[in-house]
């Protein structure tokens, strides 16, 4: 196979950018929780990088991108352990080393699993979550990645378009987060008690890192350093901007205030919405998709209060809802010269099918896995631990030491 130096450099660089998104997410989420839980949130994200990368290399990559086992449902174990590193990835015609592709996709699995920490904020067990995440990557993430991303997957073959993970990452994580929130139950005191973010500056820095990393996520998904990558890059920037503006405008109108958290959330909502479409739409369509993403996000985060599920940091509202909006809008806005499929009702129907199937699979299987982990390892901390704060109770650390009165001794 032919390996192009420029393509390889861009995809490897993009893989590193996507990896950086997960520590960015740790800051984004960490700022939004109360100060007694911030380290727990961050270490869950860091450890997710470790656990998912290992599971990916050993098994999950092969399930997602190995030769199809039949019916476009799942890959075989042919590539388990990242075996056959020089053979072309089944179904693809890549100009990059297959290992570069495997590494790039590894970072996608990492960030998708890490997003779920947002639904379990302030009350999820560290060990239980890591067990859950390991199984979840194999049972939920890998099959959906196979269906949609692998050219041998059944949704891919039907013509479903997902440039960088509207289904595989965003809708998948949103639906899974909803199931996880149901299994875990609400935080004690929610929604009565004040659970305001403890440090929005951390959240803003995290949003900035996510935004930065998203260029690797979306433009890297061209899997080549070419015009499609440039198109995706521009779409990504424009959608983040209109997402931010859309969120602020609606927020100002509804509550009377344009907020910092709204700006950070709106940018992410726009980025989520453009993810499935980034390389398939032109710049003006990207503006629209981002705007509708931002508006969808600000309206969707209110839903949890109505239905009383504690999706603590709005994985469902931001990633789920905006992922659906972007995936469906792509059905109407795809450019046939890039996407290979013309926009229209047929494509919209296929996109809608992918949305429904992804939600059903992710929600159901996540519910099962989380329930099993809850009843075996345990997935929720005790009320005492939740009250004290996960940082000191679980990890024996505290994030902030501003005072100089710390009576104590070593040992």
């Amino acid at each position: 196979m032919h390996v192009d130096a420029g393509d390889t450099a861009w995809v490897l660089g993009s893989a590193a950018l996507v990896l950086f998104m997960t520590p960015g997410l740790a800051l984004f989420y960490g700022g939004m929780v109360r100060s007694k839980h911030v380290l727990a949130m961050m270490v869950q994200n860091l450890a997710t990088i470790a656990v998912v990368s290992v599971v990916w290399a050993v098994l999950a990559y092969s399930l997602a991108f190995g030769p199809d086992a039949g019916g476009g449902f799942i890959g075989t174990l042919h590539l388990a352990g990242l075996a056959h590193p020089t053979a072309q990835v089944p179904g693809f015609n890549l100009s990059i080393p297959p290992l570069a592709f495997a590494a790039f996709q590894m970072m996608f699995a990492v960030i998708t699993a890490a997003l779920l920490t947002g639904a379990g904020a302030d009350r999820m067990r560290f060990d239980g979550f890591l067990v859950f995440a390991s199984v979840w990557v194999l049972v939920v993430y890998a099959p959906i990645a196979h269906w949609v991303f692998s050219p041998e997957g059944w949704l891919f073959k039907r013509g479903v378009l997902d440039f960088a993970g509207g289904n595989v990452v965003e809708i998948d994580s949103g639906a899974s987060a909803l199931a996880l929130a149901f299994v875990l139950g609400r935080r004690r005191g929610w929604p009565r008690d004040v659970m305001a973010p403890h440090s929005l500056p951390l959240t803003v820095l995290g949003a900035g890192i996510l935004w930065f990393g998203w260029f690797g996520f979306n433009a890297g998904s061209a899997l080549a350093a070419n015009g499609v990558a440039a198109q995706a890059f521009v779409s990504t920037q424009l959608a983040a901007c209109t997402g931010l503006l859309g969120w602020l405008i609606v927020e100002k109108w509804r509550t009377g205030h344009a907020t910092t958290l709204g700006a950070a959330s709106g940018a992410v909502a726009g980025l989520v919405a453009i993810t499935p479409a980034a390389g398939y739409v032109n710049a003006m369509a990207a503006l629209l998709i981002g705007l509708l993403g931002g508006i969808t996000g600000v309206l969707a985060v209110a839903v949890k209060f109505k239905f009383r599920y504690d999706d603590s940091l709005d994985v469902v509202g931001v990633h789920g809802a905006c992922g659906v909006v972007g995936t469906l809008l792509l059905g109407l806005l795809a450019q046939s010269n890039v996407a290979g499929h013309g926009a229209g009702l047929h494509l919209l129907g296929e996109q809608a099918l992918a949305v429904v199937v992804t939600i059903a699979w992710a929600f159901t299987l996540t519910f099962v896995i989380a329930t099993v982990v809850q009843r075996t390892v345990g997935l929720r901390v005790s009320p005492e631990v939740e009250l004290e704060g996960l940082d000191t109770a679980v990890h024996a650390e505290s994030a902030y030491d501003f005072g100089n009165v710390r009576a104590g001794r070593i040992g």
């Binding site: 509550t255 907020t259 958290l261 959330s265």
Partner: protein, 112 residues
């Protein structure tokens, strides 16, 4: 001796400190506190969820003075801390039985 305690608006601290120094009070203790009286807190909005924050940040100022000075010190604080707006705070004094300067062991008014 009396302990004069004042809860004041944080931004008035410098004015109160200057006025006390001019009066002849040397040394005082301040701490950042939160509370509410007739002035209620404020509203914060995070992703559309509105929280009412009841407690308002204030500064608590404490100083022990001689019996004869107490009423004047209270007046000095009241005058320098006042803005006329709701939330200006309160000042009160309480009797102090005993006082020791740690360095020298001096007791009572000598330790002031």
């Amino acid at each position: 001796m009396r302990l004069v305690t004042a809860i004041i608006k944080p931004f008035k601290l410098d004015d109160v400190k200057s006025a006390l120094e001019a009066f002849g009070v040397h040394g005082l203790t301040v701490s950042e506190v939160n509370g509410y009286g007739r002035q209620k807190g404020h509203t914060e909005v995070y992703r559309g969820a509105e929280y009412t924050v009841d407690f308002v940040p204030k500064v608590r100022l404490e100083v022990v003075v001689a019996d004869d000075d107490a009423a004047d010190v209270v007046d000095v604080i009241v005058k320098s801390a006042a803005t006329g707006q709701i939330g200006d705070g309160k000042v009160w004094s309480t009797p102090v039985d005993d006082l020791v300067r740690v360095r020298t062991g001096e007791r009572g008014p000598d330790a002031l």
